[in-house]
């Protein structure tokens, strides 16, 4: 049913995404951690493409790999006297145990549940359908999202303003 290319793409992108996320944990330099985070974002965008979500993949590149990464880098650069060592708190061991428990539980549930999968259509473009849905069925959440963005922008400006 599926060609070899998409299977290879899935495995390569999964390894890149999870490996970069592990490097975010492992590296000792905060700047390097941000760079690996960007790599992980790009890997997730590739996984979106293998799921035929072209519009969401482009949005992921623009917002996450572009805007949010630049925001995080700015926050690191603008705190010059803060520690850059990416170290852990005393919660390292409990955090590890809890994260492992959550991962194993979610993974086990994902494996044993019968998800009643529908037949998959061919790869198709989604941007036009998403645009119609945003302005028709989801127009109220769309407007609320714009108000949230405005409130966040005003709040961020008020918070960091020198006075």
């Amino acid at each position: 049913m599926e060609d070899v290319g998409s299977i290879v793409a899935f495995w390569v992108l999964s390894v890149v995404t999870v490996g970069a996320a592990l490097m975010v944990v492992a590296v000792r330099n905060l700047i390097h951690a941000v760079l690996f985070l960007i790599l992980s974002f790009i890997g997730v965008a590739g996984l979106y493409i293998t799921l035929s979500a072209d519009f969401v993949a482009i949005t992921q590149i623009l917002i996450y790999a572009g805007a949010i990464s630049v925001l995080i880098l700015f926050a690191v650069m603008l705190t010059p006297r803060a520690a850059r060592d990416n170290a852990e708190t005393f919660l390292q061991l409990p955090g590890l145990v809890l994260a492992a428990l959550v991962g194993v539980t979610v993974g086990a549930i994902a494996l044993v549940t019968d998800w009643n999968e529908a037949t998959r259509g061919p790869f198709s473009e989604t941007a036009a359908a998403i645009g119609e849905a945003l302005l028709d069925k989801y127009v109220l959440p769309f407007e609320i999202a714009s108000v949230i963005l405005l409130a966040a922008m005003v709040g961020a400006i008020v918070l960091v303003r020198e006075d």
């Binding site: 998409s6 299977i7 999964s14 999870v18 996320a21 592990l22 975010v24 944990v25 951690a33 941000v34 992980s40 974002f41 997730v44 996984l47 293998t50 799921l51 979500a53 969401v56 949005t59 992921q60 917002i63 996450y64 949010i68 995080i72 700015f74 926050a75 705190t79 006297r81 803060a82 520690a83 850059r84 990416n86 170290a87 852990e88 708190t89 390292q92 955090g95 590890l96 809890l98 994260a99 959550v102 991962g103 979610v106 993974g107 994902a110 494996l111 998800w115 009643n116 529908a118 998959r120 259509g121 989604t126 359908a129 989801y138 959440p141 949230i148 963005l149 966040a152 709040g155 918070l159």
Partner: protein, 104 residues
């Protein structure tokens, strides 16, 4: 073998637990924010996977939901980093071990 829904769900679960660990255990406030963004990505990947494998092909509700999640994540990132900047300006650190204003 082919790539099925469970493969994507496993990737999402692994990514979520890595993000959870980063958000719980990192000492730098920006590092915690990075963990939260990783968790957002895991949930978005799961939503898109369900949209592809479970819902009918013409339904883009999962995609629309992911677009909203990305919007709220961007707003949250901007506000969280603004808070980190304010804390840094007042305390000269964003190490959460040293931010103990609410300790009794």
């Amino acid at each position: 073998m082919s790539v099925e829904l469970s493969h994507y769900l496993m990737v999402g679960a692994i990514l979520f637990s890595i993000g959870l660990y980063v958000a719980l255990a990192k000492r730098n406030a920006v590092g915690i924010l990075m963990g939260i963004e990783l968790m957002f990505n895991a949930v978005n990947l799961t939503l898109i996977a369900f949209s592809r494998f479970v819902s009918p092909p013409t339904d883009v509700s999962g995609h629309v939901f992911v677009v909203f999640v990305i919007t709220v994540a961007a707003a949250e990132a901007a506000l969280a980093l603004a808070l980190a900047m304010v804390i840094y300006r007042n305390r000269e650190t964003i190490d959460i071990d040293k931010i103990n204003l609410m300790r009794w």
